[in-house]
């Protein structure tokens, strides 16, 4: 069974088709780099996969099930543009809240473990609004990985991260890969993405311009994909 099946997905905003007949099948354990220029439809596609938006046409299935099913959502971890954390709550309270919503057996214990993992255990009771940008980003990573998701959806995960947050994210991604998780990430940072990726999908004006395995040629010459299939 595929980890992710996207079939003939269209998404309209008014009359404008943001996605046109998008189809991608992703096998379990793959790391897909979702590439494309600004406005190509990467975030729209990720939001549809995450169940945050419905496609106008077509279907998306995660591990054979619909995206909005409760059991499906339990398997997805989303790291979007925003940190998705509450400024008025402490780091531990934020993680505990999501631990409860994901029905984890020991939400407090899991929150503490993730805070230690991301180097935030010393500020566990500090309010998020008092955190530096880097600390907030690490906490956002902790939230996305809190429930050991089987499918990780990362929207521009390396953008605006500081060095420490990048190191935390890379190490957690490596760990998730070792556990067999599937990762789909949209990014403009080609080098980081292509080094991690097993597969590449290039979106161009809402359509899939290329979809296939990542080759060494793509890593050696990061501009090759855009020159060959994109619009330069």
């Amino acid at each position: 069974m595929n980890a992710l099946e996207i079939d003939a997905v269209w998404k309209y905003f008014g009359d404008f088709p943001a996605l046109r007949e998008v189809g991608i099948h992703v096998s379990p354990g793959s790391v897909v780099a979702l590439l494309g220029r600004n406005g190509a439809g990467k975030t729209t596609l990720l939001r549809i996969i995450a169940g945050l938006s419905k496609p106008s046409r077509g279907t998306v299935r995660i591990l054979g099930e619909e995206t909005r099913k409760e059991s499906t959502r339990r398997r997805i971890g989303v790291l979007g543009h925003g940190i998705s954390l509450y400024d008025e709550l402490s780091a531990a309270e934020n993680l505990e809240l999501f631990g409860r919503l994901y029905n984890l057996p020991d939400p407090r214990g899991r929150a503490v473990a993730m805070l230690e993992r991301t180097g935030l255990d010393r500020v566990r009771d500090g309010l998020v609004r008092e955190f530096s940008r880097g600390m907030r980003q690490r906490l956002a990573v902790a939230r996305a990985f809190l429930h050991d998701p089987q499918l990780l959806l990362l929207d521009e995960p390396f953008t605006a991260l500081d060095d420490r947050a990048i190191a935390v994210l890379q190490s957690m991604l490596k760990e998730m890969r070792a556990k067999g998780a599937t990762i789909v990430m949209s990014t403009h940072q080609l080098r980081e993405a292509l080094e991690l990726a097993t597969h590449v999908a290039l979106l161009k004006k809402g359509e899939i311009a290329f979809s296939g395995e990542r080759t060494q040629e793509m890593v050696d010459d990061t501009g090759w994909l855009y020159r060959t299939y994109g619009d330069n």
Partner: protein, 225 residues
Amino acid sequence: MLLRSALTIAAKDLRSELRTKEALNASLAFSIVILVLFSFAFDPGSEEIMEFSGGLLWLVYSFAGALVLNRSFAREKDNDCLDALVSSPAPIGALFLGKALANWALLLAVELVSLAAFGLFYNVRFIAQFWPILMVMALATWAMTVIGTMFSALTVNLRLRELMLPILVYPFLIPALMAAMLLTTDLLAGMSIWGNDSIWVRVLVAFDFVFTALAVVFIDVVLVG
């Protein structure tokens, strides 16, 4: 799962609000100021006051309520928290019910303080009828909360949401506010609401059931599309 998630979200909202007190303070200050201003316009303790006490109280409650309800889903937009909630396995109905419960508790707190202020400024004794008044407040505030929370979700992405929310909410609330005003006026005049007035209690109960059910069913369409 529905109730547990709803309580988790309600606790989160209450904790956030009690730490910032942004909506609570604004709402309380607004209702007290309005009550004080009206007390200059009318003769406290007069018969006239008793005739429109319910109307005055519920006008204050509904305008003060809009200040609390406006923040309900707007709070979730700040760091894209709404996305994390919607993508979590918590039933989306629980997200709505949790927010509605938190809003209900906050509004009831504001209303109780305003009721005490009303009694003080207008020389109206309500202690003998306190429990029936509290019941009417609980029912009508739930009506206000359900409609307000639903439209707060609907307007969360609008630039003029603070303006749009009252425009959308008040027309829907007319039956519930009408019932609450009539019942409160009668209770403050020392009358029972279990005679001819009981129809208005039933209107409030029916309103609460119907709109809660509709909101829980349609919140998914509102938030996800």
